[in-house]
Symmetry: C2
């Protein structure tokens, strides 16, 4: 272990050195590296798939579930999709080097901010091997060095993919050590990595809630992770019924396992008797189970074919990640706002209304990363928001909020052009 830790520290120093050059590496070299990676993913298909085959055989022998095996699997079409994603990153504008807020001060000093990479990013991830390619591409494009630490179950695949990235980027002129891969899967190395705040500027955990919590608790450096999404859609008394059905249906059903899916439906009492039967009928077709408060239950209990359950206190503020929704009838917009303030996780919240003032109040008063009027919360996504690639969705308030794109992997420094000025 001693030796492995010393190797990790050495790896860190190399990454740090590489990050200094990466910081001002021309965009065309970074793009060339990305296109090389995209090319090599297909040219070296055989090696990559053979390595993945090894992982899958070991995983199968150890009794991994079919769902987990599927997440682990690479095949020609998945490789093609990965290669395409890398080409997409190459096509995005380079966030680095932008100079902004630059002004001449009264004493003649020219002072402004220049966008620069964060430096070295650590990424700790679980079984999906595509993260190796995905995050390497994002870090390269944003000028950051990266230290990758993938899960044990995908070690052969990750090693093969990291080798592709390293060779392809080195060929383009990217400094050695820009992308580092930790081969040793000992858990103690992760603990040490999280202490390396002298090297690593930001750590990104990609995986389940357990991994994310553990990284938040143990990391000595900044952490950015996808947050928990407890998302509400509030159907106001003036809502258009068709829009309200379409939006709540989409938010719950289109992809129920993700953080921007609807968890709680709040409905104004005036519209509930007309609206709830409509959405309940649509949701029933998709198999949605409704955890209803007493007033919603009262409206729906005689309607056939519904999966109704009386809501308990635990249903409010719960992220279901499944075809389940909590449903509550509220007396007013104010009650909806209070409920969201109390139970929301600050991810994505929506109002459906035809009243201008209700929409504006909701947009003003709800404190969340993404606040919607008359649209599905499912849009909370880097690509949908026009950011291109996405690193994750932040529910923190500092640095960046909501979908994190390439720009959120950067910071700025102040640059000052003087002519000999001194302070009076």
């Amino acid at each position: 272990m001693e030796k492995a830790i010393m190797e990790l520290e050495a790896m860190g120093r190399v990454a740090k050195r590489a990050s200094r050059r990466l910081a001002y590496l021309p965009t065309d070299i970074k793009n060339k590296a990305l296109l090389n990676i995209s090319h090599d993913l297909l040219a070296k298909k055989e090696e990559i798939l053979a390595a993945n085959e090894l992982d899958r055989r070991e995983a199968e022998a150890s009794g991994m579930s079919a769902a987990m095996l599927d997440r682990l699997m690479l095949n020609p079409s998945r490789l093609e999709a990965m290669a395409q994603d890398v080409r997409n990153v190459a096509a995005l504008p380079d966030p680095v080097g932008e100079v902004f807020d630059m002004r001449t001060q009264p004493n003649g000093l020219l002072i402004g901010k220049k966008r620069v990479p964060l430096g070295v990013i650590g990424v700790i991830y679980e079984s999906r091997p595509n993260v190796t390619i995905d995050i390497s591409a994002l870090c390269l494009k944003s000028g950051n060095a990266v230290i990758l630490r993938g899960g044990r179950e995908a070690i052969h695949s990750n090693r093969a993919l990291a080798k592709v990235v390293q060779e392809a980027s080195s060929r383009a002129g990217v400094p050695e050590g820009a992308v580092q891969f930790i081969e040793n899967t000992d858990r103690a190395l992760v603990d040490h990595l999280l202490k390396m705040s002298h090297i690593i500027d930001l750590v990104i955990p990609r995986g389940g809630a357990g991994l994310i919590r553990s990284v938040y608790e143990n990391a000595r450096m900044a952490v950015v992770a996808g947050g928990i999404g407890v998302c509400h859609t509030y159907v106001d008394k003036s809502a258009d019924l068709n829009k309200a059905v379409a939006i709540a249906y989409n938010a719950k059903v289109q992809r129920p396992t993700v953080c921007n899916a609807l968890d709680t439906l709040l409905v104004h009492a005036d519209i509930a008797p007309r609206y709830l039967p409509l959405i309940a009928a649509e949701w029933a077709k998709a198999g949605v189970e409704m955890h209803c408060d007493a007033r919603a239950l009262n409206i729906l209990e005689s309607q056939p074919g519904l999966k109704l359950v009386p809501a308990t206190e635990e249903d409010w503020g719960k992220e279901f990640l499944a075809l389940v929704a909590a449903v509550k009838v509220v007396a007013s917009l104010d009650e909806a706002l209070e409920h969201i303030e109390r139970y929301g996780s600050g991810h994505s919240e929506a109002i459906v209304t035809e009243e201008y003032e209700a929409a504006m109040r909701f947009l003003n008063e709800v404190d969340a990363a993404c606040v919607y009027a008359n649209a599905s919360t499912r849009f909370t996504d880097g690509a949908q928001f026009g950011l291109g690639a996405e690193v994750g969705i932040s529910t923190q308030k500092l640095h960046a909020r909501g979908p994190l794109g390439l720009r959120e992997l950067t910071t700025y420094k102040w640059i000052i052009f003087g002519m000999g000025q001194v302070r009076a």
Copy 2:
């Protein structure tokens, strides 16, 4: 203690509730509150000075040093200066409400970012009572609620000042609880405050290095604190000698006790024999002690009237906060860059050069909050950078870097205007 903690939690809930309204409080109400505070500071001079007199009598009895007593003291001219500072904050533009990056997406969704306050800010500070006014004004203007916890030795002054702030802002229509003051000076309450991440979005420690370290180690929420400044000035071989003397003199002497003062002077070997005697003579007049490496010592040792000390390894990377400078002769710009990378704290770094390429390389390659060509590092300051008021200077990379102004006390949320869109 149990009871005090429950009271603190209740205070937190009130602050949180107030923060929701503060978030969209019109600028003119916030400015009215600031002008009221400014007015009341002078109108209630008697009460404030009497409270301060109490603090100073107790402090004197407990044997407080003259320097500390001076920091604690309020008098009519200091109150006038505080009132003026608050008027200055009122005159700054409101950072809240700005909408930016707003675009219509191909599906018709109008998506953009709106600048909003962080929410609730906790401030832990030591003896200077002016912080009570200063930070309250900055938080009010940026729409944040604030929970103040001042030092025990200034409790009477702080209580009187907090009362002025609360009454004056309430009169202007600021929601009750926007500015909270913890009267209990028990240390255990600070420990509890630092755990209240469900209430407090950001904590700002204002005081010595011990306080700042302790807050970083114990806070469960984000922390922004002034960082340690180990600042280098590098005099390149092509430097203009007059500019180089003026800049290094100013950076070291103008105010040696602050974080943006020069700590280490790096001098290119080609210019050292001409430059070092000039700056040494100037520094000697101001009483600067020079901790020199062997080559600098060799150049300076026969010059009369200097305070020379051979440098040791500890001198590199040391923040002196005094009339002391480490001095090193380097063989090249590259050696200077390597030295800064190794020993700098990422605060403020300067090059003095007449060569365009050297200036550009320095600005590109040095990784620090503020990088200067041909100016004194003493300019690293919110007012000098045109930000108006300053909360502190950050050496962190995430969220904000360098001088922190009102805008750095805000975040953004995404606002999305739809017409019924759902995700395909």
